[in-house]
Amino acid sequence: MSTASDDQDRGSQGPRRHRLDDLLGMRVWFSDGSSGDQVTDVRLVPGDRVRGQLNELVTEGLVIGRRRPGTLFGYDRHPHQGPWLVGVIVRFLHRHTGYVEWSDIRHIDWDAGRIDVTLAALRDLQPRGEPPS
C-alpha cells in the first residue's frame, strides 16, 4: 500500500505523522471506481513491539459508514446485547456500515481525504475481540 501524495519530506524528517481526526471522515473509493461512505472509526490491535509498558497499537482496519448520530454503542461487539429493541434500532441505523481491512487499502491520499481500496464492496463488520488490557 502506498500512502500520501506529498512524500517529499519523508526521508529528511523521518516517518510521517498524522492525526486520527485526519483519517476519520475520509471517503472510500472502491476498485471499480465508485465511491463509498466515510471512515467512522479506526480499529487497532496490539502490535509486537512494546512501547513503554504496553504493546504498541497498530491499525487493523477501518469501519466505514454514513456517520449516523452516535456510535454502535457496543451492539457490534455483542450482537445479542439488550435491550432487544435498542439493538434493532441501532443496527438498522447502521445497516450500511461495513469494514475494510488495512491490507485492502491500496492508497491513502491525506491531502484529498481519499482512500482507494482493492475491494469492490465493504466487508461485513464482525464483532470486535476484547480490548487489550
Binding site: 500512502t3 486520527l20 456510535t71
Partner: protein
Amino acid sequence: MSTPASRRPELDALHQLLDRQILDNDGLMVGKVDDVELEEREDGRLVVTAFLTGPGALGPRLAGAWGSITVRTWSRLSGRAPEDCTRIGYGAVSSINTAIHLGVSRSSVAVDGFETWVRTRLIAALPGAGKDPS
C-alpha cells in the same frame, strides 16, 4: 460482502480512545484525549505514538471558524506554534480501559501551560496577590 479473516483483541480508536480521561500515576486528572497521533510504519500501517490534548489538539476537530479561533487563541496565549499541541507519548501510558492511565506524574507531561499562564500573568498581577491573607 466477504468476511475478515482475523479476530484478535481490538479496540476502536474513536469509540475507546478519543475524549477519554487521562489520569496520572496518582489518579489525578491530566486532560482529555482530544486527538491521537499516528505514525506511518514501513509496512504502511499506522501506529499510535501519542495522545494529543488541549485546545491545540481539539481545535482542528471543531468545524469552521470555531476551530480556527480556538487554535489561534491557544497558540497566542501559550506562545507555541498552532501545530505544536500538547503531546503525551504512548510510552508514558500504563493501561487503557475506561480511562487512559499514565505511569508518570501529571507534572512530568507539562499539560498545565494555560493554567500556569493565568496564574503568573493574571492572578499574580492583581493587587494584593502573593500576600499572606492572615
